[in-house]
Symmetry: C2
DNA sequence: CGGAATCCACTACGATACTG
DNA sequence: CAGTATCGTAGTGGATTCCG
């Protein structure tokens, strides 16, 4: 079995830019936060932690464009904007939550692996 | 319930660089290919499609360092190097395969969403 | 508050050439 | 074949400033 049709399809398919959105540094964290409840912009920024306003804006725009989150503006002063998951975003978030949890669960083992690798690769330099 | 302990933990935890590895443009594709069978370098490059040799090398090193793939060198000429999943890599690949499949399954709907978004955002310019 | 716009450093990444 | 090394470019992403 040299190659499955699925592989070939995925490799040639423009849908890979969807995968790129999900496999983004921030997407898992953003969707994870929104999966618990809708957030306002600044609130979401704090919830994610470490993301600049620019990146968060960019990510949210992409997510909104692809129909994973909704953006609702309340005409108050100062402005209030609320981001929430759509049905589609919710289903994506479930997958990405699993990935996040895997990261946490396997972190210790991975640290061990790194130690071994680094000591093997970086021979004594003196 | 303002914030779960899990959120706080994930936000402050260095394990986020593990998430960064998984949420990488290429990781899902590489692990996906390796999940079917071990691959040699060039073979893997073709299987993934569109990745430069440099990027593939970098990714494989990171994956090896974190104990997700093994790298086996056979002292033949020309050299043969085989990459395969570890137990840990296999468990990660299962999650990422689900993400890939989600991308394929939701691609059409997402395209629709984009069309709507773009026509809404980009007003007639003339 | 929730952005958009500008500036700028960094580095990601591809193309090319060379090695074992 | 499976890399490493070097270079150049294009984009990522932070800091800052300004606006509704």
């Amino acid at each position: 079995m040299p190659e499955s049709p699925w592989d070939i399809y995925l490799r040639n398919c423009p849908c890979r830019d969807v995968l790129d959105l999900l496999a983004n540094k921030w997407t898992a964290l953003v969707l994870g936060a929104l999966s618990r409840r809708p957030h306002r912009f600044g609130e979401l920024r704090r919830a994610v932690g470490g993301i600049s306003q620019k990146m968060l804006t960019q990510n949210l725009r992409a997510l909104e464009r692809d129909g994973l989150v909704t953006r609702t503006v309340f005409p108050t002063t100062p402005p209030t904007v609320e981001y929430a998951l759509t049905e589609r975003g919710s289903s994506a978030s479930k997958l990405l939550m699993a990935v996040s949890e895997w990261s946490v669960a396997n972190f210790d083992g991975i640290l061990e692996s790194r130690k071994g690798y680094d000591s093997r690769v970086m021979e004594p330099v003196g």
